[in-house]
């Protein structure tokens, strides 16, 4: 009986070796190990064995069963693997076709630049002040040391609605409003972004409507050197630590002393290029120490406090930052233009 079992093992293993598909494997499983299979068939003769032989033969029978089952399991696993591979291979898709994504929107470049500048000043402890775009002559001009019929008003040709009400020509009236609201409190550190309007014919570099960001600091003993330090900190945050500033004397009725501020050309790093007209510098800001008359209009005593103010054109900064050739792109809202600002 033992010989028969051994013979069965040899025969079964040999047959299993050659199996090539899962169906045949199952047939063999039934043939050898099934209820009516070969092994069962042999073991039916167990009844005729002696009590001594029975456990020995039982052991052999278990070994044979185990050996056959092991091979069956291996084979089955191999067939399963192959079947899975076949099925997955059939599911192959073209990964080069475009994905299904939601439409990409964008934030306007002027907003992006404004927010970037706002964030820098927020980090420096400034708050953001706002004021009306339709202003009184008083806030837009007179309180800023630009009395009626003052020649400096020519610098800013305006859109009037009535003799006393106009579209603001700069964000500077927000300075006065902020100072009045502060009611003499110091220190005052604000920036004021917003739309402004000047009677200008539109062309590649001019627009009758544009955006400014104004800055104002008022406190005891604010110095012109603080202004320089603040602007340097700002431009380095904006353009990198290698950037320097240069102040040139200038004139604004609401500051004294006044300056125009150049930064190291961001295109060429100061070596000179087309963008900076080979000077190595690019003008981006106007600034100065707040004029005593303006402090007075804001409710401060110029003998006790001083301040500085600065202003920049958002369009100019965006034109330079993104290398845009025509300011009108900002207001045409061509989707081919706006779509270019979808990135972080």
């Amino acid at each position: 009986m033992k010989d028969r079992l051994e013979a069965l093992r040899a025969e079964a293993l040999a047959q299993l070796q050659e199996v090539a598909d899962a169906g045949r494997l199952n047939d063999l499983r039934v043939h050898y190990l099934g209820k009516k299979g070969q092994l069962t068939e042999i073991l039916r003769g167990m009844g005729g064995l002696s009590a001594e032989e029975r456990p020995v033969i039982g052991q052999v029978a278990n070994d044979v069963r185990g050996a056959i089952e092991a091979v069956l399991a291996d084979k089955q696993a191999a067939f399963d693997r192959a079947e899975t591979e076949r099925r997955l291979a059939a599911e192959t898709i073209d990964v080069t076709l475009p994905g299904r994504s939601a439409a990409a929107g964008s934030i306007h470049p002027l907003t992006k630049v404004t927010q970037e500048i706002e964030d820098i000043f927020l980090g420096m402890g400034y708050t953001i002040a706002e004021g009306p775009e339709v202003e009184t002559d008083y806030f837009n001009f007179e309180a800023l040391n630009l009395p009626k019929d003052h020649p400096a008003r020519d610098m800013q040709d305006s859109f009037y609605i009535t003799d006393e009400i106009l579209l603001r020509t700069h964000t500077s009236p927000v300075q006065i409003r902020t100072m009045k609201n502060a009611d003499g409190a110091t220190p005052l550190k604000v920036i004021c972004p917003g739309r402004v309007y000047r009677r200008d014919d539109d062309d590649a570099t001019h627009s009758f409507m544009f955006h400014q960001i104004e800055g104002l600091v008022v406190g005891p003993d604010i110095r012109m050197s603080d202004l320089k330090g603040t602007l340097l900190q700002f431009v380095q945050a904006m353009y990198g630590q290698q950037v320097q500033i240069r102040l040139r004397p200038s004139f604004f009725p609401f500051t004294e002393p006044s300056a125009e501020v150049d930064v190291t050309c961001t295109q060429c790093g100061g070596h000179g290029c087309r963008m900076c007209k080979h000077t190595g510098w690019i003008e981006i800001l106007g600034c100065g120490m707040v004029h005593p008359k303006v402090l007075e209009h804001g409710g401060y005593n110029p003998e006790e406090v001083s301040g500085f103010a600065f202003g920049m054109g958002v369009e100019r900064i965006a034109l330079l930052k993104y290398d845009i050739d025509d300011i009108r792109h900002f207001y045409n809202n061509d989707l081919r233009f706006l779509g270019q600002f979808a990135r972080m």
């Binding site: 076709l97 299904r100 939601a102 439409a103 929107g105 964008s106 934030i107 306007h108 002027l110 927010q115 420096m124 402890g125 708050t127 009306p132 775009e133 339709v134 009184t136 019929d149 003052h150 020649p151 400096a152 859109f159 009037y160 609605i161 009535t162 009400i165 579209l167 220190p187 550190k189 739309r195 309007y197 009758f208 406190g219 005891p220 003993d221 110095r223 012109m224 050197s225 603080d226 320089k228 330090g229 603040t230 900190q233 240069r246 102040l247 040139r248 004397p249 200038s250 004139f251 004294e256 002393p257 006044s258 120490m289 207001y331 045409n332 809202n333 061509d334 989707l335 706006l338 979808a342």
Partner: protein, 817 residues
Amino acid sequence: MNVSYQWLSEYIDLGGIEPQELAELLTRGGIEIDGVASRNAGVTKTVVGYVLEKEKHPDADKLNVCKIDAGTGETLQIVCGAPNVAAGQKVPVALVGAKLPGDLQIKRAKLRGVESQGMICSARELGINDKLLPKELQEGILVLPADAEIGTDIADLLGLNDSVLELDLTPNRSDCLSLLGVAYETAALTGRLLTLPEPEKALYPASDKTSDAVRVGIASVEACSHYAMRAVKGVKIGPSPLWLQNRLIAAGIRPISNVVDVTNFVMLEYGQPLHAFDAAKVKGAVNVRFACEGETLVTLDGQERKLEPHMPVIADDERAIALAGVMGGLDTEVTPDTVDILLESARFAGPAVRKTSRQLGLRSEASARFEKGVDPERVLGALDRAAALIAQVAGGLVTEGVAEVRLATPEPAVIELSLDRINRMLGTSLSSLEIKTIWSRLQFQAEPAGEGVWRLTVPTRRGDITRAVDLIEEVARLNGYDRIPTTRIEGPTTTGALTKPQAIRRELRKLLSESGLNEAVTYSVTSAGRAALFAELSGAAGGMRPIPLAMPMSEERSALRATLLPNLLEAAAYNKSRRNASTAAFEIASVYHSAEEKLTTLPAEHQRLAVLLTGNRRSSSWNQAAETYDFYDIKGIVERIALRLGLADALRFEQAKPADFHPGRAAALKLKSESGEQTIGYVGQLHPELQRDFDLGDAYAAEIDLKPLYEAADARIVYRTLPRFPSAERDLAVVVDEGVPGASLAEAAKSAAGEWAESVRVFDVYAGERLGAGKKSVALALVYRHPDRTLTDEEIADAQSSVVRALEQSFSAELRK
């Protein structure tokens, strides 16, 4: 203001400072130089030649053959095409080997068989802007004065070896609208000495007195504070000498005649505008007064000007003869026949001149200077200087004395300033000596007034300096802005943070751009027609009126906008015409509302959000068809906003028919707050007619007031315990009239379902013949949950029955079985 380097060097030694360096020096000091132009555009080997003979060219009608003495020792034969060439003239001759502007090289040549050894030049060929030449010299070759020496280099003769600095002056530095002002500034920057003209020394006494020639008067100090005249008798009007013409041309002023040229020369030199009248045409006394009602004057440019009573004029006994400080009158103009002149130097009131010149649209070199104020100390000096120069270049005798009226004499500003104040304001540590050096370079008189304190007397030529800070600026710029250190603000730290509205605007921009919309920035002004669209949104339905600009630049930009949507529609149309038919855009900006017919107070500015969707939500792709936008896209955007701002439960959409929206596809946005419910905007499809006006397909839009959102937005997040017991979902469908709003059904179902109803959602809407006309089926999904236990089937069934009963009662709904 254009400043000739050579001319400037007559007042200050510029040795060792090249024009470009001078420009840099001035710019760094605050007088911005826009450019430095060489007056020589590239002329070499060109000299004064004498035309010995002129003959017709044998083979060319329009050419002449000239024999020229150019001082070269031989007679040159030159073929010339200019009709005005004539024997006996002095002319510019470009010799063989000469170069002329435009890369022109002069070579020996044969013209129609006749040899030509050079070229006789026109002004244009010499690179001179011929608009700046006297009219008689603009045509043909440039005829030089008879006294020009043969063989002289033409560049020397015409003053071409010079550079012109173009000043871009800020309005405060009108003192630099004069050569003397620029010389003072250069002296302050370099520390060099000045040489000033001394006109009174050049005046020769005459027996005639000015007081016999003219009497002058001023009617109002509002028009003029100082008026002075001198007479020059027996002048001979003619062209100016070349040196004078060269100076004017370098400054960009066209020479006219000797007398007029002198007045312009002295204006450029002193910054004091002058005017010469033909004395024979002035009737009686000269008086400065305001124009009379209805008075007219023909100005020098030949235009008749209608004068108004605020305009100051110079008048004789009969009429206005000049527009004070702006332009002279044609009647009393100096002409070739003029023999005696009256020379005017005055200080007209800046505001009056400014208003007059602006109103008439007439700006002149004179008005530009008077507007900003002239130096009171130079009125008489300039008059003397001009009188002496006229006598020099036009002959004649200057009468003795000055006829003048002076109503006011401004005192020089006297300002006290301390070293400490300067250093505190600038953040510098300048020494007393450094400051004193600056005062001395500026030629400001400084007296000590205590320890480290000066009392400064500011010369009247620097009318811009009236306060201590003005002097501090002088110190800052002359010491150099570069030498101001960079420091950090001292004192308490401050916190930077966005306000709630600012944070919400940023959140909205982020949300909308991430939802696939492009942010637009459009103009705040629009046409009257566009401003009248969307009556509810513009406030027109509530009594708001349009706000027109007083003087618009165009009809398209003539009124403040009262709504944002028209501009977004324009943007969509703009894109559609560029083959981009799908637009998803938004704008956050202000609109302007006022109920006043004419503004007396500022209009209300409402910050708004507008959203526009048109075209495809999704373009067609390899794996899916295109999908177009519909109402529920724009509504979904509004819902997302509400969700983000914590207002999902506070916002309600109510069917509405706002103007310019599709009457069946629009909703009013109702926001609940503590103070009640208010309409904060509208959402819907636009009216098909409006869509057609903008040449757009179906367009869906929303415009929302942001202020109520700022106030109601609730950013607080409070954690709620996650449910521990399972929910139960039950569906039911009812048939109702098609006009019944789905939201009302859901709302009624929710309230009828009792306290354990967690949510009610419409999941299907169906209309069809089986239901009958005018009916629809609405399917609702209700979710029930108890926080502390599992609900029983009976409890849920009871709740469902309540719902059905409520829907039956309120909406005549029939349960679908």
